[in-house]
């Protein structure tokens, strides 16, 4: 087993662990403990301690990781689908229109995701869904450009040209000849997009754009615990360790594919 496979396995296990959080956490991530042990350090009943409102930090992080990862995954899928759709349109459209698409995308590329999210909030409700849409939209130009380079390269290769000459239908050509060669690159690209989306979703939640401040998500947990930074720094350190850990695994599992 090579290193990348090992990290992929670890990443899979982390994702599985995070999704278990939707069904089981040691304590209720939302219920407050009124016995007065707020901001108490780690103990057997509270593995990572208790936050300033008397809630179990480990349970909050567990469910929060689940939420963050799910939001990141949905954003990634939406992003890839939209970018592929635009690429399809750009390839099929008449020259002047594809030129328009290309310049529109380069303009879009310059606008940071946070501003796109803020603009979306002008006419969408605050909430996890809006953050997912913003993260998906924000990375579309990047994904589009990457996919376009991969596609143009594949189109010019000898085996695709040969297959065309032999008269294969376009769907079969894509499925049998292009896709197997494209797959490793697209898989690496989607891992990168997932890392971006996760960073963006939690960043936007950290800005307080997720709506409900108690919604357990790694970014919004960091925002809430910011006020305890001076009293108990671990309240802020732990959620970040989990977030960075997930991101590090994503990076390690794609590093050798390039």
């Amino acid at each position: 087993m090579n290193r990348t496979r090992l990290f992929e396995l670890l990443l899979g296990l982390i994702l599985l662990w995070a999704f278990v959080g939707f069904f089981y956490t040691p304590l209720d991530p939302l219920s407050q403990d009124y016995t007065g042990n707020r901001l108490s350090g780690p103990s057997f009943s509270h593995l990572l301690g208790v936050d300033g409102l008397g809630r179990d930090l480990f349970s909050r992080i567990w469910l929060g990781s689940g939420h963050s990862i799910l939001m990141g995954l949905v954003a990634t899928v939406g992003n890839l689908a939209l970018a592929a759709l635009i690429l399809f349109a750009e390839q099929k459209a008449p020259a002047w229109f594809s030129q328009f698409i290309l310049s529109f995308v380069s303009g879009w590329l310059a606008i940071p995701v946070i501003f796109i999210a803020l603009l979306l909030l002008v006419f969408l409700e605050q909430g996890p869904g809006t953050l997912v849409i913003a993260a998906a939209l924000g990375n579309v130009p990047f994904t589009f450009r990457q996919l376009r380079v991969l596609w143009l390269y594949q189109k010019e290769t000898l085996y695709v040209q040969a297959s065309l000459v032999l008269g294969s239908q376009s769907w079969n050509l894509f499925r049998r000849t292009i896709w197997p060669n494209l797959k490793p690159d697209v898989s690496g690209l989607s891992k990168l997009i997932f890392a971006f989306s996760l960073l963006e979703v939690s960043g936007l939640a950290f800005l307080g754009l997720i709506g409900d401040p108690d919604f357990p998500e790694l970014g919004s947990i960091l925002r809430q615990n910011k006020s305890y930074l001076l009293a108990d720094p671990w309240q802020v350190i732990w959620p970040g360790i989990f977030l960075s850990g997930i991101l590090l695994l994503v990076q390690l599992s794609r590093s050798e594919q390039e």
């Binding site: 590329l109 603009l119 006419f123 720094p233």
Partner: protein
């Protein structure tokens, strides 16, 4: 500069201006449309006495009852003449509010960029010219940090180390309010010097250091990711080898030859990443309670502050485009390869 390359430079600059005008028109139409789709009436929300008559009067006064096309042209004209209206919340001119916040953000962003380039370029050059392994590790590590560690968490870690443990830096804010804040340009680091208060310079730098360091990892990573692959290029490796063989010392080698090679792509990459850096600045500001435009824009959006959204966002989008175009133009004049009509 010979005449024909000057002409080429000017033509290129004009093209960039065209891009800027296109961006201005496109972004203003998009923003205007977005405002039309706004849910709820922001005017009614702001009025103490929201009976239909008062609302209608107020809308009439603000010109919101005109035909859409007239409204759009009014908006465009007002934006261009700097008449950006008053904020519906603070009732102060949007221009004043925005610029007092924007200068704080720009001070942070530019310092971070300066700091990142200051340590990013030497690390990248040392790492690529095959010297000590520690620079190779550093350059690789910095390249990865940018994608793995969320900037807002990095900020907290810096506060924990710098303020809590070392007790050297303040945890938040831009200035100590026991002193009067000099006001000349809005950039505090310049203002204290212009106002002749050199004694406060240390205070300003002390407040600025942690946020700027936090944000600087991003431009440093950009610089390293641009320089490193270029230096691995076989042609460049041969150049380095032959220059070393001719007896060039490291300082002359890096400053005179390698920096010239890497300069243009670094400027382009920094320009392109300026938007993302502004986005990072918004997050960093929240961590360090920096009084920048992050909280201002978030507030404007959540409170549906019409004129701030229309004009503030348009200005920031234009600013991002202008920086990209400027960086392109500068890179164009720096890189002999681009001048020869390459990519």
């Amino acid at each position: 500069m010979p005449l024909n390359s000057l002409v080429e430079f000017l033509v290129n600059g004009l093209k960039k201006c065209g891009v800027l005008v296109g961006a201005l028109i496109g972004a203003s139409i998009l923003l205007f449309t977005a405002i039309q789709l706004l849910e709820g009436d922001p005017i009614a929300l702001r009025l103490k006495n929201p009976d239909p008559e008062t609302v209608a009067l107020e809308r009439e006064r603000l010109g919101l009852n005109d035909p859409l096309l007239t409204q759009y042209f009014n908006y465009f004209e007002n934006f261009m003449t700097g008449d950006w209206g008053r904020s519906l919340i603070t009732q102060r001119p949007v221009v004043e509010d925005l610029f007092s916040r924007l200068t704080a953000t720009l001070e942070l962003t530019l310092s971070a960029m300066f700091l990142g380039v200051l340590y990013g370029i030497p690390i990248a050059l040392f790492a690529s010219s095959g010297s000590a392994w520690i620079f190779r590790k550093l350059s690789h590590g910095l390249g990865v940090i940018g994608v793995v560690i969320p900037i807002f968490w990095l900020g907290f870690i810096l506060i924990v180390i710098g303020s809590l443990w070392l007790n050297v830096f303040p945890t938040e804010g831009r200035f100590d309010y026991t002193y009067d804040k000099p006001h000349v340009t809005g950039f505090l680091i310049l203002d204290v010097l212009l106002a002749g208060r050199g004694d406060l310079f240390g205070l300003v730098v002390n407040h600025l250091f942690l946020p700027a360091l936090c944000l600087s990892f991003y431009p440093a990573a950009v610089v390293i990711n641009v320089i490193h692959p270029r230096m691995q290029d076989p042609i460049t490796r041969n150049l380095i080898m032959s220059l070393k063989a001719r007896g060039f010392g490291p300082v002359r080698l890096w400053l005179k030859h390698l920096l010239k090679l890497a300069g243009a792509p670094v400027v382009t990459a920094l320009g392109t990443s300026f938007g993302a850096l502004l986005g990072g600045a918004v997050l960093t500001e929240t961590v360090f309670s920096w009084p920048g435009m992050g909280s201002f824009l978030v507030g404007a959006i959540l409170e549906k502050d019409l004129f701030v959204i229309e004009n503030g966002f348009l200005f920031i989008i234009l600013l991002v485009f202008a920086v990209v175009c400027l960086a392109d133009t500068v890179a164009f004049s720096m890189d002999p390869k681009i001048k020869k009509g390459g990519s």
